[in-house]
């Protein structure tokens, strides 16, 4: 790797700010500035601090030998709070028992803290290594000067510097003060551990918080307790954009424990990250707040969004994609090739609106001291939370401190800080610390939903049954509408999620996009548009294989074609590639093919199965990672689906913590099973029709495959890529394809709850 690329500047930090409280006298402080400045990640409307050069990695060494390492990304289950600090610790040669992980507050000096897009490792693996290697060299130089020996003869290991020739040793703590006086090493002076010397990177390491989690001591969002804290529940408008018309709070105020009822102002202009407004009940405990809210009588104003009906929207989306759209990428002459084809097939795929439903619903706590506000929240994006609190409350950013607790899941929901700003606004109004608790009903009715979508595909086979033309069209409400009122065109970023980057070698290919307006809050959801794009593209690839009378895996190998790098930008496409240059992270069909073959091998592709049992497979690149999913599905004569086994073959380059990569892939399978088999939010009259886990169903232990076999097939020499999301997209199409193999019935709509899969 090129360190020059990855390093912008290394500077000794000043000792102001919260770091001061973190380090003891004589401590050694080091700041490394992140220089991973890729093309700015297109995120509609949302400022992305990845584009600036702020320092993002900090470590401190105390005299008592404790190495404190900042975790600046949010922990929502991926293990990032463990994994990134261990990258620093590995280069530095730390003993893990003497490493303390310190969670960062929201501050742009760390660079982007927006923990989404499966990019924490991708963006910060190199800066973290540099931070560790820099500190290691400064400690070695301090020791070498003290001992009068060449620096090259020293080494860091076991939390100390050694000079093997003279058998001298000094602990990090003893060297810290001298090391801090050393000049900052230049990028090309740094030495990095070779793979064989690494003790954490590339090895399984348990979670930093594992003990707290299994004993109940770990602190999640709702576990924050402040002296004199009140609890709040908010009655939010059932339809986006409604305002309370009349409020009768007499009965609510009579509920024991209820302290106050407060109107929360509605959002102004486009909703973005603003709280929804409504009526808040403030109480001594959560139960009283909940009881009080039940007793509120509120009538609501009209809203331009009250006509939203998801059944009608789904039909409209299907109509849109069945007609020509805006051309996004084109190769050859698709229309001519389709006309000349020996055989053509076409199909429309649909997917439902989804709620994130992280196990921990949104919750946040805020406290004011004068004109300064401190919040504690399970947020994926503490800087955005700070900005929204400052904006809503009309105070400078510097007056807002955002502490990040553990997140009980996020999946994209907790990138939006509406719930954090709500708590801050209420705490000021109440004049005491306030914790706003969202119920599951609040969560499912007031999510930033994963949008519903439709994708139409048409393909042609020549006389030899080889694919000659591939046409695809996608339509869905765009996330841009969350920030720009009336936006109705999907952005290149959204379309680049598994759609405009389709890797098929077919000679004539065209991708088109449709337009549709939006009437509900929507937002990023684990794997985002890849979910519907992968479902449609890989389901249809299987249809085409069957139309050609070919084995699906053999057919996929032909569709993928020879080993090469695919460049959609050469075919008229604006393709952001997850914010990274294609030269650094290409679309490599060789890696796609390797994942496909590994999954096919793992599931025992080609073996005979009885009627009602089938194998299915899909392979998809997303977040720069290649994942093939293969499964075995059993469908009863009555049409009940059981999935005994899944194989995932994943190539994420270097697996920094292989156990957590496997865990993310296992979790992705279960997440994919949920959205394939069960989950849907359906709006009628502008309101969500679901409210809790009885009607918004997610996979249970009994739905999950008993065996999920994860094979890491990446080359450790390749740069590490995304892990949190890319496991999800191929899961649903693999299931649908297996159902076809088992029953002959093609699933083109998710979830498949409405499909009759019975057979005889």
């Amino acid at each position: 790797m090129s360190h020059r690329d990855a390093i912008d500047a290394i500077a000794r930090p000043d000792r102001r700010g919260f770091l001061q409280g973190m380090v003891g006298a004589g401590a050694f402080l080091l700041g490394v500035r992140a220089g991973v400045i890729a093309a700015p990640e297109p995120q509609p409307g949302a400022a992305d601090a990845d584009a600036d050069f702020s320092p993002n990695v900090w470590l401190a060494i105390d005299r008592d030998d404790t190495v404190k390492i900042i975790a600046h990304r949010s922990e929502m289950g991926t293990g990032i709070r463990t994994v990134l600090p261990l990258v620093v610790a590995d280069e530095l040669g730390c003993d893990r028992a003497r490493v303390q992980v310190v969670q960062a507050i929201g501050d742009e000096k760390y660079g982007s803290q927006d923990t989404d897009g499966s990019r924490s490792i991708r963006r910060f693996y190199e800066p973290m290594r540099i931070a560790g290697a820099t500190a290691a060299l400064m400690l070695r130089r301090a020791a070498a000067a003290k001992w009068g020996v060449p620096v090259g003869e020293t080494r860091v290991t076991d939390h100390r510097v050694e000079h093997p020739k003279s058998k001298r040793k000094a602990s990090f703590g003893a060297l810290a003060a001298d090391a801090a006086k050393q000049p900052i090493p230049k990028a090309d002076e740094l030495e990095f551990r070779k793979p064989a010397e690494r003790r954490f990177v590339g090895h399984d390491a348990p979670l930093e918080d594992i003990r707290g989690i299994v004993t109940g001591a770990a602190q999640f969002g709702g576990d924050v307790r402040r002296p004199g804290m009140r609890f709040a529940m908010v009655a939010r408008p059932p339809v986006l954009g409604q305002r309370p018309k009349t409020v009768n709070d007499a009965a609510a105020r009579k509920v024991k424990g209820v302290l106050d009822v407060i109107r929360v102002p509605p959002f102004e202009g486009v909703h973005a990250f603003q709280p929804l407004g409504g009526v808040a009940v403030i109480a001594e405990d959560t139960w009283s707040a909940l009881q009080g809210r039940r007793m509120l009588e509120v009538t609501w104003s009209d809203s331009p969004h009250a006509a939203l009906d998801d059944a009608a929207l789904s039909d409209r989306l299907a109509k849109i994609v069945e007609a020509p759209g805006r051309v996004l990428r084109t190769r050859g002459d698709v229309d001519g090739a389709l006309k000349g084809a020996a055989k053509t097939i076409e199909a429309t795929y649909r997917t439902a609106r989804l709620a994130h439903a992280s196990m921990e619903p949104p919750v946040a706590t805020a406290e004011w001291k004068g004109e300064a506000c401190t919040v504690w929240a399970p947020t994926q994006n503490p800087q955005a939370a700070r900005d929204e609190v400052a904006r809503l409350c009309g105070i400078p950013k510097a007056a807002v401190t955002v502490n990040v607790t553990l997140l009980g899941g996020g999946f994209g929901r907790k990138s939006k800080p509406d719930f954090v700003a709500e708590a801050a606004w209420l705490a000021r109004k109440v004049g005491a610390p306030v914790q706003v608790v969202w119920t599951r009903e609040d969560d499912i009715r007031h999510d930033y939903y994963h949008a519903p979508a439709a994708v139409h595909l048409k393909a042609g086979l020549d006389a030899k049954q080889a694919p000659v033309a591939w046409l695809q069209r996608s339509a869905f409400p765009t996330i841009t509408s969350t920030f720009a009122p009336g936006a109705n065109q999907p952005s290149p970023m959204e379309l680049g999620l598994g759609f405009t980057d389709v890797p098929w070698v077919v000679p004539h290919l065209r991708a088109e996009g449709g337009e549709v307006e939006n009437h509900a809050r929507i937002g990023w959801y684990r794997a985002v548009c890849n979910v519907w794009h992968a479902f449609a593209v890989h389901g249809f690839a299987d249809e085409l294989a069957h139309a050609a009378g070919a084995d699906p895996v053999a057919f996929l190998r032909d569709l993928i074609g020879p080993k090469r790098l695919v460049d959609p930008t050469k075919e008229g496409c604006e393709y952001p590639n997850y914010g990274e240059p294609l030269a650094k992270y290409p679309i490599d069909t060789g890696r796609l093919r390797r994942a496909l073959d590994a999954a096919a091998d793992g599931i025992g592709w080609g073996r005979a199965t009885p009627k009602g049992t089938g194998l299915g497979i899909a392979v998809h690149r997303s977040f720069l990672t290649y994942v093939a999913a293969a499964c075995e599905v059993e469908v009863s004569r009555e049409g009940a689906v059981r999935i005994p086994r899944f194989v995932i073959a994943a190539d994420c380059g270097l697996a920094v913590n292989p156990d957590r990569v496997r865990a993310q892939m296992e979790g992705s399978v279960v997440f994919g099973v949920s959205l394939a088999l069960h989950s849907a939010v359906t709006f009628t009259g502008g309101q969500a029709g679901q409210s809790n886990f009885h009607d918004y169903r997610v996979a249970r232990l009994t739905d999950a495959p008993n065996a999920i076999d994860v094979r890491l097939v990446g080359d450790g020499e390749n740069l590490p890529t995304g892990v949190g999301e890319p496991g999800v997209p191929p899961v649903a199409p693999a299931i649908a394809n297996a159902i076809f193999a088992a029953t002959g019935k093609r699933v083109r709509e998710l979830p498949l709850t409405g499909a009759d899969l019975s057979w005889s």
Partner: protein, 152 residues
């Protein structure tokens, strides 16, 4: 004065609403925030505690129904976090976000207290009320079996 026995400690109830779910009493009044809220409708199992040795969903158990019985939460499951299930959870790396895991462990502990060697069907029956949105189910199943083996 009315009180509840939570992890062997007497916690006063004072004049709280007797219909208050045990969940909110434990979280807001007893300091045992290891007990988690996920649905409030007995749908997710995050709030699972032991009442008189049985696993119950504390979100639908009023405090009046808990009177006179021992309440055990994740904080009281073992003295040093060394219940065989807690050890098995660590060894298998079960948790992802961790939010559901207290409830998972409490459900599993009640199962193993009754059945030292549960088969897959019995694990299904005992654990299907506990959701994990992160999808740690395969490891949960494996960890229960490992703990059962250790408890022999």
């Amino acid at each position: 004065m009315p009180q509840l026995d939570v992890n062997g400690k007497a916690i006063p109830i004072d004049d709280l609403d007797p219909s208050m779910p045990l969940l909110w009493f434990l979280r807001d009044h007893a300091g045992t925030t290891g007990v988690k809220f996920g649905c409030g409708l007995a749908q997710c199992g995050c709030c699972t505690v032991h009442l008189g040795g049985r696993a119950v969903r504390s979100c639908v158990t009023p405090i009046s129904a808990a009177m006179g019985q021992k309440v055990v939460t994740i904080e009281g499951l073992s003295k040093d976090g060394d219940h065989p299930l807690q050890k098995a959870w660590v060894a298998a790396g079960v948790p992802q976000c961790g939010y559901c895991q207290a409830g998972q462990i409490m459900s599993a502990a009640a199962l193993l207290a009754e059945n030292k060697a549960p088969n897959d069907g019995q694990i299904d029956a005992a654990m299907s009320g506990n959701l994990c949105r992160c999808g740690t189910y395969p490891r949960i199943r494996a960890a229960i079996k490992a703990a059962a083996k250790e408890m022999g």
